[in-house]
């Protein structure tokens, strides 16, 4: 009976292990931090790591499950970040509670990114081919430039927004009333943000993201999306609306990216749009590819290791990127090259039998 129930929920042990691992890591790190064992530098990395894990999970939904490439995922993160910051800074007096304000900001960031994802998906997801990659690439760059031109302030009268397209406007042009503050100052980005993101919030959002993504994959909708990835023509022939299900998956993916962005933006008192450039999109893509396409646990591990590694290697100075590159190559070989994987499996025979067990 219990066996049958497990089969019905459609969640293999691996899924539970993902939740468990994330929770265990959170408890361990919180304990270490409480004991004063984490360096100041490591403490600063905690929230960004959470953000990049969410980003990796989000992008894995697009790339691994839907089978489409998004090269501008940082653009959605950026939208989430700046809309989150604007909301949070505007509500500082209205909602004094930091935690509640964080929740509202993240929700708004998610909605804004979801809407952007919907607008992009509307024309692009109808097409066959790599158009999503091209359009999201352009989207990431456009969003960066637009936010670089954006000047936003808030005072008793509400929000003031101007676009500094000609480069001749400053914060003074906002005409802020007494006591008003500038939230986004053009190319300088968001400045003077009250940092309200916490590691606990990051942990909770990772759990929510995992819950959404894993449950999505193991549902009717998720099966439809995977079916489209595996064979579009066959999926259509059994009555799966390709456009609709791609859209659902993509919008969920961009929503999660928006959440990650809001969390990220509210972790720094200063952040500029240049932070969310093409390199950031590629960095997240690297996490996804190295962690394994469609492998959520892999994405979490890859994002954590590969984000912390360059920071942890700072002591090695010039050799830092060299070692980072070697690690990347080794991970790639270990996960994607069958010969090297067999070699690893032969060296560690225990793991092989364990894998055989889970496969059944």
């Amino acid at each position: 009976m219990s066996k049958k129930l497990k089969k019905l929920s459609g969640a293999p042990k691996r899924d539970y292990f993902s939740y468990l691992l994330v929770t265990a890591a959170f408890i361990l790190i919180t304990a270490l931090n409480g004991g004063g064992l984490l360096s100041k530098q490591m403490q600063g990395l905690l929230v960004p790591v959470c953000c990049y894990i969410i980003m990796a999970l989000s992008l894995n939904l697009t790339v691994g499950i839907m089978g489409e490439l998004s090269l501008g995922h940082a653009g959605f993160m950026s939208l989430g970040a700046f809309s989150g910051v604007v909301v949070s800074q505007s509500l500082i007096t209205a909602v004094p509670n930091d935690a509640l304000r964080l929740v509202i900001s993240i929700a708004v960031g998610a909605v804004v990114a979801a809407f952007a994802g919907f607008l992009i998906g509307l024309p692009v997801l109808r097409l066959r081919g790599d158009y999503l990659a091209i359009v999201t690439l352009a989207f990431g760059e456009i969003i960066m430039d637009v936010i670089n031109c954006l000047i936003v302030g808030h005072d008793a009268n509400g929000l003031h927004v101007i676009f500094n397209f000609r480069g001749d406007k400053t914060v003074a042009d906002l005409d802020l009333a007494e006591g008003g503050v500038a939230i986004i100052k053009g190319a300088q980005g968001a400045v003077g943000t009250k940092t309200i993101s916490t590691f606990t919030a990051g942990f909770i959002i990772i759990l929510i993201t995992l819950f959404i993504v894993l449950n999505f994959i193991r549902s009717r909708t998720g099966r439809a999306v995977i079916a489209i990835r595996d064979n579009r023509i066959a999926a259509e022939s059994v009555g799966v609306d390709v456009m609709k299900y791609k859209m659902i998956a993509f919008v969920i993916s961009t929503t999660l990216a928006g959440m990650a962005g809001a969390l990220y933006g509210l972790n720094f008192s200063m952040i500029s749009a240049d932070k969310f450039n093409f390199n950031t999109s590629i960095l997240v893509l690297v996490f996804v590819v190295l962690g394994g396409l469609g492998n959520m646990l892999g994405s979490i591990i890859a994002a954590t290791v590969l984000y912390i590694l360059p920071e942890a290697l700072r002591g090695l100075q010039d050799y830092r990127m060299l070692i980072y590159a070697i690690v990347l190559i080794l991970v790639m070989l270990a996960t994607n090259n069958p010969k090297v994987r067999n070699l690893f499996l032969r060296i560690i025979p225990k793991r092989k039998s364990a894998e055989g067990g889970t496969a059944k």
Binding site: S219, R220, R223, I226, D230, I233, S237, V238
Partner: protein, 282 residues
């Protein structure tokens, strides 16, 4: 609604369920002057054809005669440039492949198209996509409707797989199945969409005589238990002549003969198309 929604469809006594053969009254498929041109090349021309509600029909012809093109027009992968196709009395003009599936046309493919990375059971469950519905939100939040429908779709998938005794393979990846089993899985997946008309594109390709014999029995069994019409493309004449009640022969995109197995075998045009002129003059 159709019969098999009421309860278990397998096992069910064979032939008991066949509704009256009202070929003339209400054909499930009606093609009227259907044709398609690709940039001036007439791939199929003036295709007139009807299939009754529980008929097994065959579409044969030499390579390149346009048989698969006909299937692609029936499922609206291609849009015919001439004529109309009616499914169960409804015009299909302007409909999409997905809508055709909902109208009751299911197909298999000549070159197998399974969801290779999914399990056998999940392949069938994708086929049940429009039969077992619940919203994306209830799937993510695991609301009661998710558990209820997932349970139903699991049971239905197993029931459908039992047609070909494939329940044991439910957890295997579809891509790792042997060739014959992949062909059978495609048929099961097509049946999961609850079709009125099942299109089989070379179902016996690559099968040995034993497997083909089994397949013939199964096609008849499927027709009998589900009460649906079957149209099949096949080069194995033993299968076509053995089970098809009506046969249509295509050559160079035109119908050259229609009739029962005996009529087709005696038809001089057909012999000419298959054997060439010399074969006839002997």
């Amino acid at each position: 609604m159709r019969e098999f929604e009421k309860g278990k469809m397998v096992p069910m006594p064979s032939t008991a369920l066949i509704p009256e053969r009202d070929l003339g009254k209400m054909p499930v498929l009606e093609c009227i002057h259907v044709g398609i041109e690709f940039g001036g090349l007439k791939a199929v021309e003036d295709f007139n054809f009807t299939i009754g509600k529980t008929e097994i029909a065959g579409l044969i012809g030499p390579n390149g005669a346009g048989k698969t093109t006909v299937f692609n027009m029936l499922t609206r992968v291609y849009n015919p440039t001439h004529g109309t196709i009616m499914i169960d009395g409804q015009d299909t003009t302007g409909k999409s492949t997905v809508q055709l599936s909902k109208m009751g046309v299911a197909r298999t493919f000549q070159n197998i198209r399974l969801f290779t990375d999914m399990t056998v059971e999940d392949n069938v469950r994708v086929g049940l996509h429009n039969q077992m519905k619940y919203s994306t939100a209830s799937g993510i939040l695991r609301l009661p409707s998710f558990w209820k429908k997932e349970k139903q779709s699991h049971e239905k998938a197993m029931e459908l797989l039992s047609i070909f005794d494939m329940q044991d393979m439910a957890g295997t990846k579809a891509g790792s199945l042997p060739y014959g089993a992949q062909r059978r899985l495609e048929i099961v997946r097509a049946l999961a969409t609850e079709p009125k008309l099942l299109l089989l594109d070379e179902p016996a390709a690559g099968m040995n005589p034993n497997e083909t014999g089994e397949l013939m029995e199964n096609i008849v069994k499927i027709r009998d238990t589900f009460g649906i019409a079957v149209l099949l493309i096949e080069h194995d004449m033993k299968l076509v002549m053995g089970i098809c009640e009506g046969i249509c022969v295509l050559n160079f995109g035109k119908i050259i003969a229609k009739g029962t197995a005996e009529e087709i075998q005696r038809n001089p045009e057909v012999n000419k198309a298959y054997l060439g002129n010399n074969g006839m003059e002997e």
